[in-house]
Symmetry: C2
Subunit: 240 residues, 2 copies
Amino acid sequence: MSAITSLLVSVEELASERLEISGEPYRHLFRARRLACGDRLRLVDGEGRARWARVAEVGAKSAWLEPGATAPSQDPVRRVRLLVASPRFQRATWLVEKATELGVAEIHFLSTERTPREYGEGNSRRLERIARSALEQSQGSLLPKLSCGCSFDEIPRLAAGCEVTWYLDTTPSEEGPVDTSGTDSTALVVGPEGGWSEGERARFEAWEIKSWSLGARVLRVETAAVVAAAWWLTSAGGEG
Amino acid sequence: MSAITSLLVSVEELASERLEISGEPYRHLFRARRLACGDRLRLVDGEGRARWARVAEVGAKSAWLEPGATAPSQDPVRRVRLLVASPRFQRATWLVEKATELGVAEIHFLSTERTPREYGEGNSRRLERIARSALEQSQGSLLPKLSCGCSFDEIPRLAAGCEVTWYLDTTPSEEGPVDTSGTDSTALVVGPEGGWSEGERARFEAWEIKSWSLGARVLRVETAAVVAAAWWLTSAGGEG
């Protein structure tokens, strides 16, 4: 239920027997949300672990929680990594929010030939904050790993360890959806609206990365990324 | 290719032999995009028809196009209608943009028990403009039918004519994805993050509308709507 409150804490805090909540989380939970003594909430550590916790004490500036039984992680069975040609920052913010809601494990923003783009330090931190609140809102436990301004050459390294890697074209194609069965970890490389350059396509071939298209529509990069990730995550069925 | 320029015109204009482009479309195409005499573009009428057109003449304040051969519609084979518990307006804007990119046929915003909300005239028109530009950007031909502030009681009427109707819960469930095969038209009723009220669930039962969940995550209403629509549209495979 979305009525359950999830709070992202550190690995150490989740493992503790009693922890103090102050500052912004305190204001949000005990002023805005008005949690009170005895109320139950869900603590997650951003690494896939979750515990139920009880509000033990509420003070004027901080409150104390007592973590208890393990809670379901509610992370997808599958691991999906998104490697995405960096869209305009505003579009990147909602890509991160939506991908986090869905349970994407990693999001890496690429600077490509047709969309050379970096977000800078402040914006990268803003994306982290968006992911944190989207994780709490969606009741997940695994905070996606984020990186910005990756180079095209880093794709094989960023996709390393995934069973399959696909590169998506947002340019038209007649191919239908791919068979996702029996695949637990996938890297999806999503190109810009203008498509990949010939040189980039050649690199994908050299790396033996296959192409996949969502159809004849020209989707914006962030739309293609979210839809493709959802395709792999929801077609897996059950949840962890 | 996103290099192709699509322009949404009226049914009459699409059927004409020569049409004049002025005002904002003129500035966009001939100042910003710098189209010139002889250039080819794609005209769509928002009702699923498309024609190739040639730039015949470019003046200081307007230009003339000559529509020619029929162009592919690039609309999905399937018809998906979204009936969505109205999210905050900002979230509705991107729901409309993304659903239009994907080729959703109709988007109706509901005022529900837990999210009674209407957008007002100005905002409704803004959603129309967003859909129009998303249609041009995505190279589709069918402009989604939009309506705002629909009441819960209107659901059967809004879903009438669809082969199947599902109501989605954004609250956790263990159900997996549904089998979409052999279904050409679907109505998806998407609830608020807080879930449907007991009374609303009872109405769905009375209407014999089945429930479907995208999994254990709590998705925002606009995320659930876009992901569910994409699920039905992409799992259909081929394009029209």
